[in-house]
Subunit: 409 residues, 2 copies
C-alpha cells in the first residue's frame, strides 16, 4: 500500500512542447503489458543524465554514457521493462546497441542520437527482436499528451504510476516541467532499477543541463533509500527542448535560472518521494533530517545510517518510538569524534532526547503518537556545526520480506 | 530456530584453573531469570578487551576502558542482563561505577579491578540496587565448573546458550581455552549487544594479551553480521590466568604462541559463528568469501556489501539463487575501479558466474540445490589480486521483522 500517494491525473501532466511519447506492448517478458516507451525529442533539444555508480552497471547504462559523451544531438529515448540487460557481458552490450540501431533507422537518426534504458530481470538475455518488433506501434502512438501512459509504461513492480508536473513563468512565457519515474531498489527478485525522466521546454544553455541534472539528483533521487541497495540500472535524465521562446538562461543562479531550478527540483523531489511512498512493503514515509553537523557529508552519513538500519526501520513499522536504535545508528555512522552528550532528537514536534539522554519531559505516549502517523520526521541535531542533510525512506515490513523472497516467476 | 546449533554440554566446557564463575537471579528486569554473572580472576591474571566503536557507547564500556587503562590488576568481571545502561548520560556512568564499587567492596578489591558489562534495554535507568542485592548470591555460587550456567546467565533473546572449549598441549602441560558469548545485533527492541568472554590458563606475557584479543576479534566477532547494526555495548574480553605451569609465551609467532593463538581463534570463531547461527529469525548460515582482491580491506567491503544487502538476505531466505543481487552488491561495494568482466562466482561447488556473466554450463536447478541448504558458501573472485576476506552472516526472514517489530514488553 503506497503511503499517501495516488496515481497522477492525466490532465495535471502538462505536455512539454517539443517532446512526444509513444507506448507499446512488446511482450518483452509478459504479454498484454505496456513495456516499451519511446520519447521523441525535437531538433535543438539538449539532454544530460546521471547514472548508477554501481560498478556492475548494465549494458544500456554503458551505451547511454557513450552516446552522451559522443556529443551527438540526442533525439530519442528508448525504454523497455521486463529485462534489465545487466550482467550480460559483451552480448548484452551488442543487444543494447542493436535496439538503438533499430530505433535510429526508423526515425532517420544515427544510433548515437538514441539513449537506451532497460529495467527488469538481471542476467537474462535481452529479447531485442521483440523490442524491434514493438517499435512501429510505439512510434505510431507518439503524442505530446502521453505522459500518463508513459508513466504506466515504465512501471515494473510499482503499484502506481509516478508523474509530476509544474508550470512557471519565465520572461513572460509559460515554461513547463514534467517528469515520470519508476520504483527504487532492486524491486522483486531481480527487478531492477530506479528510472527518472524530466523534460522542460525552458530555453536553457546546453552547458547548464549537466550541472542542473546533477544538482537536481542530489536534491531528490540521491536522497531516497528503500533498502540501501544500489541498482545496476539507476538513471535520471533531464531533457530541455528549448522551445518556450524566452531569452536563453545562461546561468543557473540568475533570476530566471533559479525559477527554473526550483521547478525542476520540485518535480524531481516529488518523483523521488513517490518512489519511497511506493517502496516495497512501505507503510510509513520517513523524513530523516540531520542538523548541526560540521559538514553536509557527515550529516548524510548519520542520515543514511538511520535510514538504512533494519532495526530502526522495523521499529517504524511497529510504531515503536525506539530511541535507542536511532541513537545507536547515529553512533556507528562513522563520525569519529562525535560527542554523544550534545545530541538532541525530535520525533516531529516531540523532543525525545536532550544532551544525549532521554528528555526529562518526554513521555512514551507522545513518541508513540508520532510513530503511529503515516508520515514522520526524525530530526537529530549533532551539536557540532551548522551543516544539514535530509533523506527520505520508508519502514521495513513483513511485506518487504514477502515481496523480495517470492521466487522469480 | 538456530541453524545447526545445539546447547553446549556442560561436561565439554573445561574449567580454566584460576577462574571461577558465579550466577544469580537479581531481577534486573524480570524475576526468576539468571541475569547476573560474576567472574573471579586469580591473582596474576592478565586481561585485555576490544569494545564497540559506536560513538554512542554505553556507560559500562566507558568504565571498562578506564579501568583497563588505569593499569590496575583486573580481578573481577561483573555482567548483568536486562538493562544495557546505554544512552543514560552521567547518571548511567555513576551507576556503572557504583556496581563496581559494590563488587570490589565484597571481594576486597579496588573498583578499578572490576570490569562491568551490561546488556538489555537501552535508555533506561540501571537498577543498580538490584545488582548490589544480587551480589552475595552470585559470589556464593562461584565455581570453576560454572561455564554452562554462566553462558545461560548472559543470554538475552538468544534461544540457546553459547560456549566453546579447547585444550591444547604447551610445554608438556594441558592448556585450556574456554569461552561464552551472547547474541549479536540489537536483538529485540532495545535489547542490545554482543558479548564474548574467553579465558585461558596459558602463561602468556601480559603485553601479548591486547594484540591477541585484537587478532582474535578480527578473525571472529569482527567477521559476523546479522543486520549491520553495531551495538552500543559490544565487548570481547580475553583473560589469561597464567596458571598452566609452562614456560611463559613471549611471542605470539613462537611455536607455543601459535598453538595458543590457534586455540583462542578456534574458540572465538565458534562463539562468533554461534551468534550468527542463533541470529534473529535466521534460517540459513552463510559464509561469504571474497578472493582475488588487491587488499584485504577491499575484500571486506565486498563481503559486507553482500552480507548486509537486504535483497541478498531475503533471496537466501527464499532459497532463490538470485545471482544478480549478489553481483549488484559487489558492484556498489565501493571498489571504484572494479572490472565486472573479471568476476567469478561460486555457490558452494557450483560455478555460477564467469567473466562477469552467467556461466554457460550453469543450470538454475544447481543453484537452487545449494540455496536450499542450511549452510551455504558464496565465493566471489574479484580477479584483481591475491587478497581474501571471509564474513559470516544469516538470511533475512519474516521472523526477523516479527522479532524486531514486537513492541517492547
Amino acid at each position: 500500500m503506497p503511503v499517501l500517494l495516488t496515481a497522477p491525473h492525466p490532465a495535471d501532466l502538462h505536455p512539454v512542447p517539443g517532446l512526444r511519447l509513444g507506448v507499446a506492448e512488446a511482450g518483452v517478458r509478459k504479454a498484454n503489458r505496456k513495456d516499451l516507451v519511446v520519447l521523441e525529442l525535437a531538433e535543438g533539444s539538449a539532454v544530460a543524465g546521471v547514472f548508477t555508480r554501481n560498478r556492475y552497471c548494465a549494458a544500456p547504462v554503458q551505451v547511454c554514457r557513450e552516446h552522451l559523451a559522443s556529443g551527438s544531438a540526442i533525439r530519442a529515448v528508448l525504454i523497455n521493462t521486463g529485462n534489465a540487460n545487466a550482467g550480460t557481458g559483451a552480448d548484452g552490450l551488442a543487444r543494447a546497441r542493436r535496439s538503438c540501431d533499430a530505433l535510429a533507422a526508423r526515425m532517420g537518426l544515427t544510433p548515437q542520437q538514441v539513449l537506451p534504458f532497460s529495467t527488469g530481470v538481471i542476467m537474462e538475455t535481452l529479447p531485442v527482436e521483440r523490442i524491434e518488433a514493438g517499435l512501429p506501434a510505439a512510434l505510431a502512438d507518439l503524442s505530446a499528451s502521453n505522459w500518463s501512459r508513459a508513466a504506466e509504461g515504465i512501471m515494473t513492480t510499482d503499484t502506481l504510476p509516478k508523474a509530476a508536473s509544474r508550470q512557471v513563468q519565465i520572461g513572460g512565457r509559460t515554461v513547463t516541467v514534467t517528469g515520470i519515474s519508476k520504483g527504487a531498489g532492486m524491486i522483486r527478485p531481480n527487478m531492477a532499477t530506479m528510472l527518472g525522466f524530466i523534460a522542460t521546454d525552458a530555453v536553457l544553455a546546453p552547458s547548464l543541463l549537466q550541472p542542473l541534472v546533477k544538482q537536481a539528483a542530489d536534491a531528490s533521487f540521491n536522497r531516497i533509500t528503500i533498502d540501501g541497495d544500489t541498482s545496476t540500472n539507476d538513471s535520471f535524465v533531464l531533457i530541455a527542448t528549448r522551445q518556450a521562446g524566452h531569452a536563453e538562461i545562461t546561468a543557473l543562479d540568475s533570476a530566471d535560472g533559479q525559477i527554473l531550478r526550483d521547478a525542476v527540483f520540485a518535480v524531481a523531489r516529488q518523483l523521488a518521494q513517490a518512489i519511497v511512498r511506493d517502496g516495497e512493503g512501505a507503510t510509513k514515509f520517513i523524513t530523516v533530517q540531520i542538523d548541526g553537523g560540521r559538514t553536509e557529508a557527515e550529516c548524510r552519513l548519520a542520515a543514511y545510517a538511520i535510514a538504512h538500519s533494519p532495526l530502526v526501520k522495523t521499529a517504524f513499522f511497529a510504531s515503536d518510538p525506539n530511541l535507542g536504535r536511532i541513537l545507536a545508528a547515529v553512533g556507528y555512522a562513522g563520525i569519529d569524534d562525535l560527542d554523544q552528550q550534545l545530541i538532541e532528537m525530535h520525533l516531529d514536534d516531540v523532543h525525545v532526547v536532550t544532551q544525549g539522554g532521554r528528555h526529562p519531559a518526554y513521555r512514551e505516549e507522545d513518541g508513540q503518537r508520532v510513530m503511529k502517523q503515516a508520515e514522520i520526521t526524525v530530526r537529530v541535531h549533532l551539536g557540532r556545526g551548522a551543516a544539514s542533510s535530509t533523506v527520505w525512506t520508508c519502514d521495513l515490513s513483513h511485506d518487504y520480506v514477502s515481496i523480495n523472497a517470492d521466487y522469480r516467476s
